[in-house]
Structures are given as structure tokens and as C-alpha cells.
């Protein structure tokens, strides 16, 4: 039990620290690196929650895929100049206050309603590995969104291509 607890706090710390660093680093590349840290933390949490498949997806897709994309763009748009400029918008203090307020409110609301989620239930009897389970659900229950997601990705690809290409 305590191992879980320890790792939870560890990953939580990594996640939050990564997040904080992401939004505070001056250099966009550093931000991206911090984001990777945070994503890995989240991946760890996935693992803790017995979502192995998702852990893999998180590492491969997110850390491997999306972050590369980000880094590409960072290189492409040449953020050196940007890095020398002011990093925070003029409204940051207001934003901070607001966000903290909203966060506090959400947490308060959660705490009032937390009775619903106090303890994790015992795991269901395993009828196979996590991947099988996910696959089963994905293709039985969520076949439609799955197909739809492909269309979404197609649209995204087409879109980013259109946007990014220089002439026609």
C-alpha cells in the first residue's frame, strides 16, 4: 500500500513540477522538456492505476510524437527572439488570482462531494491483460468513436499540411 502511496506522491510531484516548469520556463525548448517530464509523471500515474496500455500510449504517442512536433515547430518559428522578450502577459496576476480561485472552488466542491470517491474499489477479477480489456471495450463499445477519430486525424493532418505548406 505504502509503495503505491509513495509512487503516487512521487509521480504527482513530477507531474506538477513539470507542469509548473512548463508554464514558467523562459525558453520554449525548456518548457517542452518540462512538459515531457510532466507527461512522464502522468504516465507513471497511469501505471499506478493499472492502465498499462495507456501508459504505453502516453509515452509513445505523447512524449514521442507530440513533443517532437512541438520541438519541430519551436525550431521552425525561431523562438530565440521570443525568449528574450517578456514572457508573461500583463494580466498574469489577475489570471493567477482567478485560476487559484477557480481551483480552490473546484477542490472545495470536490471535497464536499468526495464521499463518492473515498476509496478505490477492489480490482475486478482479471479476465485478461489490460490491453485485451481495452481492446475489447474499444472495439465493442467505442467502435464508432474509434472510426471517427480516424477521420479526425485525417482532418488534422490535411489541415496542418494546408496550413504549414508554403504555396499550394
Amino acid at each position: 500500500m505504502w509503495v503505491d502511496t509513495f509512487f503516487f506522491y512521487l509521480f504527482a510531484l513530477v507531474t506538477l513540477a513539470g507542469g509548473v516548469l512548463t508554464v514558467t520556463r523562459r525558453n520554449a525548448v525548456h518548457s517542452a522538456m518540462s512538459l515531457i517530464l510532466s507527461l512522464i509523471g502522468v504516465a507513471g500515474l497511469f501505471l499506478l492505476q493499472r492502465a498499462e496500455f495507456l501508459f504505453a500510449v502516453q509515452i509513445v504517442l505523447y512524449v514521442g510524437g507530440i513533443m517532437v512536433l512541438f520541438l519541430f515547430v519551436i525550431m521552425l518559428v525561431n523562438l530565440d527572439q521570443a525568449a528574450r522578450m517578456r514572457q508573461f502577459s500583463g494580466q498574469w496576476w489577475l489570471a493567477l488570482a482567478c485560476v487559484l480561485a477557480v481551483a480552490a472552488q473546484i477542490v472545495y466542491v470536490l471535497s464536499r462531494g468526495s464521499g463518492a470517491f473515498r476509496f478505490a474499489r477492489p480490482e475486478p477479477p482479471a479476465r485478461g491483460g489490460n490491453v485485451e480489456l481495452v481492446a475489447d471495450v474499444l472495439f465493442k463499445q467505442y467502435l464508432l468513436p474509434f472510426e471517427l477519430a480516424s477521420v479526425l486525424l485525417l482532418a488534422a493532418i490535411v489541415g496542418s499540411v494546408i496550413m504549414a505548406r508554403k504555396r499550394i
Partner: protein
Amino acid sequence: MKFLELVWLIPLIPLAGAALMLVLGRLLDPQPPSEVAAAPGVAPAASGHGVAHRIGQHGHSAARSVISLLCPGTVFVSLLLSLGAVWELAALPGRTYEVVKFTWVAGLPFFTQSGALARFTADWGFLLDPLSSVMILVVTGVGFLIHVYSVGYMGHEGGYYRFFGYLNLFVFFMLMLVLANNYLLMFVGWEGVGLCSYLLIGFYFHKKSAADAGKKAFVMNRVGDAGFILGMLLMFSVFGSVRFREVNEALASGRFAAETAGLGVLSAIALLLFLGATGKSAQFPLYTWLPDAMEGPTPVSALIHAATMVTAGVYMVARSHLLFRLTPEASTVVAVIGAFTAILAASIALVQNDIKRVLAYSTVSQLGYMFMACGVGAYWVAIFHLYTHAFFKALLFLGSGSVIHALGGEQDMRRMGGLKDKIPVTYRTMVVGALAISGIPGFAGFFSKDEILWQIYSSPHGSKVIYLVALVTAGMTAFYMWRLIFMTFHGSPRTDPQTLAHVHESPPVMTVPLVALAVGSALAGWIGVPKLWAFLPESFRAFEHWLAPTLSAPALRASEHAHEAATEWLLMGVSVAVALAGIGLARHLYLARPERVQALRQAAGPLYTVLANKWYVDEIYDAVFVNGLGKGGGSALARFDNRIVDGGVNGAGWMTRLTSTLSIWWDTWIVDGAVRLLSFLVKAASFPVRVLHTGSVQAYALVIVLGAAVLFTWYLVR
């Protein structure tokens, strides 16, 4: 019965003439294009000649002759029809003939005060009874003579067709007024004559004063009319009808007790009607329009503002005599107002120099007499005076018109004098008129005026105070009338020689009516001689007998002969003496000792030089110069008229303007202002809302988060 059945035609024939004139008259009487009346300096070079002088040399075209024949002709036909109808009426048992042609206002049901369901209706119905028969004869008879006179008088004027059109229209409305069988239809005539008066006063509409006078007349009349309307409404609500017959039946039924104490609903009706009458008949306080109305052509003054229209109020009160008899308080008001007006107007007439204004005030004064008679319950006498007055006042006006005509438009008596030989016919007929109005025995005015005085004195509703007032007024009347005669016809000519050289007697078309009216003024009174003159047969008292079916009131007759014959003789003597004294004083001041006038001017002049307003100085100077200190009261009254009464009217006008200005201000700034404010606020609010959209995507995101925060806060606060 043939003529009686045609009674509805009596008004219609003049209407036909009017319609013809107003629609086609322009074709018959073309106006040269150059006759545009333009203000000085505005007139185009081509037009050149003067403004007010629309006297052209094209006067007697063949077409004009048609008009000249046609318009008086229609009135003449009406006169004949009237005579026929009256002749037949005399033979009818009740001397009443009523015919309804069709329903006019056919309104819906309503509830009277007593809860009965009535209908708001009025007919096109005609009532010929002795009262209206007198009136139609006066209207058509005098009207015809004046029409004839106008042919000569207006012969050189532009707008000839228009003039006769209006005149015929007037006759139509006046006949409607007197022939109507209900108040509402009477009101048609009532308003109609007011309209014609307006049109005819403003006949010389290029003169601002004329147009102003017309408007003043109309608006003042309207004030009275509002009273009349409310009176009718009250009548509807009390009796459920405004038909004379039904109203009178209701009144006679005994359902309404005489309102001897306090003011009841009948008094209210009576007073409201009387308010109408004061407007139409130029009684205090609504009389100031009448002197101004002299801006109109003289025949108009004679017909409308002397003989007929202004007497409509008297006719109406006489028509409502049952009502007034039941409301002694209201009758007292009538008498007092009449007396006050009579003496007020007479005193003003003392100082006037405009020949027509003298006559105008005189008319107001004489109308006051008639109301006094009505007020004391002597309705037939009022009508009798109305009838005699029609003759001599029309005569005097026409005569003055003849004078003015002869002098080429001059109206100021100070620039007349010595005309008696130049225009002898006019002179002689006017003297007859003056004798009549002064109440010299034998002439028409004597009989009616003396009877009024006697009735005021003797009637149970009469009063000695009013009698005294009336007597003084009689003296003043004699004075100013003879002052007029002396200043105009006697003494040395004060006219400038050039004009004097052209003075000539009017053509026969004008003098014949004068003579006819003079005959009337002399003889018309002999059908109403006093009962005192028992030596004369009853046929000399035909007037009262003729009117008796309409105006009799048996209940009130008993006390009539309570006074001794000696008193009556004495009073008759007093009144004649007063009249003679007035004439004598006038002769003394204006004929025998004109230099006394000069002396008085010297003596009293400084008193008035302090007045800043020159016009008032002149007025009062003249008053002192002419009348001496003894008549100072008259000038004070003149001032009262000019300052207070007119001032009141002007003040009301000023107040009205002020209110109007305030209203506009209110409209612009408050009512509209609220709207503008709203629209301004909408626009103003637009900016902060827009400014929120700074273009910064993060600000937008912040607003989203803020929105979320508000959602949560709302939830948590609840």
C-alpha cells in the same frame, strides 16, 4: 299650407345662391391677375399699384350684373316664402308648424340622469312658430335690403362674388339657426353664422387687422360655443333630447320645480346656454370682438353685427324661456350681465371717434337691453326690441356706410362734418335712425325701449337698480348717437377739400334700402304700443299677441298690472326726458359751443400727459376734450376695456403661449429626452461592452475563466 310645407326651402335658396357663387363665382367675376395684394416692397414691378385698393375699373361687367340680381334675388325669394309661410301660420290653430325632414345625428342609446334610456339624436327639423316667424322676417327682410344695398356698396370691390357668396351663406345659416326645431341644429346655424362672420370680417383679408379681428371673433365665439355644447350635453343628460318641443314639454310637465334657491342642474343648463349667448351676442365678458369686427365691410356690420347674428343669443334665450323662467337665479345673471354690458358699452361709445365703432358699442349696449328684458322675464319685449333694433341699427350702419362711401373710405368722425347738404338722403334717414334709437316717442325704438324700461321696473323679477342703469344708458345712447349725427353732418366740414369736392350722394341702389329702413324705423314700433295707451285698439299691440303662443307663461302674468298707470306714465316721461337731455347735451357740445371742448382740453390735459403710452394719452385726452370731466367715468371704463378686459384676453393668450412653450420644452427634453437618454445609454453602453474585446486572446480566455469562477461562486454562495 303650400308655403308652410316649403318652410325648409327658405334657408336652402340662399344656400343654393351661396354654393353657386363660391363654386362658379370666379368664372362670373374674374379677377385680373395684377390684383395680388402684396406687402409694400414685395409687389412685383409689373403690378405696381397699391395694395389695399382693389377698386378696379372693371366693376360692372355683365357677369357682375348676374351676381347682383341673383344673390339678392335668392333672399327675396326666401322673403316671399317666409311671408307666405307666416301668413299661413297665422291661420293655424296653435300657430306652430314643425316638420322633420330626416334624422341628422342618429346616435346611439344612452341613459339620462333619471335612468331612462334615450337616444342621442337630432333631426333636420324645422319649427315655424311666432318666435321664429319674427326672426325669419327680420332676417330675410333686413337681409334683402342689405343685399340690395351691397350691390351698390361693394360694386367697386374685388371679390364681389365671394362677398355675395358669404352673405348668402350667412343668410342660410341664420335661417337655419332660427328655424331649427332643436338645439343641435340651431347650433349648426349658430356656428355657421360665426363662420360667415369670420369670413366676412376677414373679407379684406389682406389687412392684418381684419384677419385678426375675424380670428378674435371666431375664437371668442368658440368659448361661448363650448358653453353651449356643454349646455346641450347636460340637456341631453337631463331631458334625453334637445328638441325644443320635448325639452319644453319636460319643463312644463312639472317634473322640475323652479330653482329659486341655489343652482341646480337647470340653472347649470341655463347658464351654460347663456355663456353661448354672451359669445354670440357680444355680452360681457365676451364682447370685445364686436367692435373689432367693424373691420368688415359695412353692409356686413349692418346685417351680421347689428341686425341678425348678434341677436341670436337673445333669440336663443327667448327660445329657452321656460328654462329661464324656472331658474330665477340664472335669469338674474342674465339681467345683470345685460345691464352691465349695456352701460359699459354705452359709456365707451361716448368717446369713440370711429363712426362704425360708435355704432358697434351701441349695438353691444342695445343687446344688453335685450338681455335685461330677458332677465326680467319680458321675453316678448326682448324680441320686440330685437325687431325694432334690426331696423334702426341696420339703417344707421348702412347710413354710416353711405357716409364712408361718400368720403372714399374715411371713418373718423373728426374728419367729417357738414355733410348734411352733400348727402341729404343719407342724412335724413340717419336722423330717423337716431331718433328711433334715442327713444323719441313715435319712433320704433321708443316703444321697445320704453317697454323694456317699464318691464324692468315693474316685473317681479325686475329691480330698481337695473332700471336706473338702463335709464342712464338710455341717456348716454341719445348723447352718443346725436354726437355722431352732429359730428358727421353738422358744423363745418373738417374733411380735406379734395375729398370734399368728390363727395356725392350714393346711388339709388343704396339709398332706396336706406329709405325703406327709415320707414321701418319710424313705423315698425306701432305694432307694440304700451298697454297704457289704451286709446289705441288691440291691433296696435299685435306683436305681443302674435308671440303669446310661444312666449306666454301664464303663471307669471298675474302680477303684471300691479303698478299704477300713473307710475308708468311718469316713467315714460322720465325716459323721454333723459333721451332729450342726451340729445341736448350733444347739441350743446358739438353744435352750439364747440369752443368749450377746447377749453376742457386745456384744463384737463396735464392729468394725462404722465402716461407714457401715447395712444392712451390720445384716447383719454379726447375723452376729456370731448366729454369733459363729467364723463370721466366713461374714459375710465374705456381704459378698463382696453386694459383689463383686453388685457385679460392678451394675458390669457400669453399664458397659453407660455404653456405651449413649456409643453414643447417638456416634449423635447422630458418625453423625448427620456427616449434620447435611452438611446444614448444604449450607445454609451455599447462602448464598455466593445472595449472588453481587446483583441487579446488571453484576455478572452481570462473572461472564460472568470465566467467559470462566477458559476462556481454562484453555486457556493447559494
